[in-house]
Amino acid sequence: MQMLVPGPAVLLYVLIGVTIVLVATIVFRPSLTATHGGKRLAFMVYFLLPAVVASMGASEHMERSKQTQFCLSCHVMDPYGRSLHIDDPTYVPAAHFQNARIPREEACYTCHTDYVMYGSILAKLRGLRHVYVQYLGTVPKTIQLYNPYSNRECLHCHDGARSFEEGAVHSADPSILASIKSNQLSCLTSGCHENVHAVAHLSELKFWEPK
C-alpha cells in the first residue's frame, strides 16, 4: 500500500490557513490577549508562525526558481527552451536535455549556475535584474552571458567520469586534459563542443518531439 506524503507546498498552505484563522481570532477578539495564555498565543501567532511561514515560503520559492518552467516563463527565453528540443546530438544543451544527463525540470539552472561559493545567490540577484529588464527596461536583441562560459560548470559533472577522462580526444595528449581542467582550453569555444543553443538558426533545424 502506498502512502501519500504531502509535499512542502501542501504543508505550507495548511500552516498559512491555520495562522490566518488564529490571527483572525485575535483580530476579532483582542481581549483574549488580556490573560497570560492569551499573550503567549498572540506571540505565537503574530510572530513565530508568520516567521516560520515566511522562511518556509522563501525556501519553496527558491526551489521553484530553479525550475526550467520558471526560466522559460519570460517570453524572451522561448527560443532557448525550444533549442533544448533540437534533433541533433551535436548540440550540447539539446543532447543533455533529451538524454536526461541533466534533470529536465532544472535544465537551465544545472548548467547556468556558477558552481562557486554564493553562485546560487548571485544567480538570484541577477534574476532580479532580469525581471527589471523584462518589465521595465529594454530587452537586448542578443542575450549574452555575463562572463565567458567556464569549464567549471561542465566539470562539475564530467570531472572524473571515465568517458571524459579516457575519451579519445581528451586523452590524446596529457596537456589537453590539464588545459581543459584549468579552463585554458574552453569546452565550448575551442571548436569541440561549439554547438549550443543556436537561437539564431532555429528555423533551419529539426526538432525532437517527445513521445
Binding site: 507546498a9 505550507l12 498552505y13 498559512i16 495562522t19 490566518i20 490571527v23 483572525a24 485575535i26 483580530v27 483582542p30 481581549s31 490577549t33 488580556a34 498572540a42 503574530y46 510572530f47 508568520p50 516567521a51 511561514v53 515566511a54 515560503g57 522563501a58 519553496e60 520559492h61 521553484r64 526558481s65 525550475q67 518552467q69 520558471f70 516563463s73 519570460c74 534574476g127 532580479l128 532580469h130 525581471v131 523584462q134 518589465y135
Partner: protein
C-alpha cells in the same frame, strides 16, 4: 491603554493576514513575478505587521508600571 493595545493588535493582525494571503496566492504560479510578490509585497506586509505587534508590546505600559 488596553484600547490602544487592542487597536494595534487589530492593525497588526490585518497586515499579517494580508501578507499571508499574498504569500499563499504567490505560491499558485511558478513565475518571477510570483517570487517578487512573495518577497516584497507579502514579506513587506508581514514585516510591517510583526513590527507593529512588537512595537505595541514595548510601547504600551501596564497601569502598574505607569504609576
Amino acid at each position: 491603554m488596553a484600547a490602544l493595545m487592542e487597536r494595534r493588535l487589530r492593525i497588526s493582525g490585518v497586515l499579517i493576514v494580508l501578507g499571508l494571503l499574498v504569500e499563499a496566492l504567490s505560491l499558485i504560479r511558478i513565475h518571477p513575478l510570483a517570487f517578487l510578490a512573495f518577497m516584497f509585497v507579502g514579506g513587506g506586509l508581514l514585516v510591517a505587521g510583526i513590527a507593529i505587534y512588537l512595537y505595541s508590546l514595548v510601547s504600551v505600559t501596564s497601569p502598574s508600571e505607569s504609576e
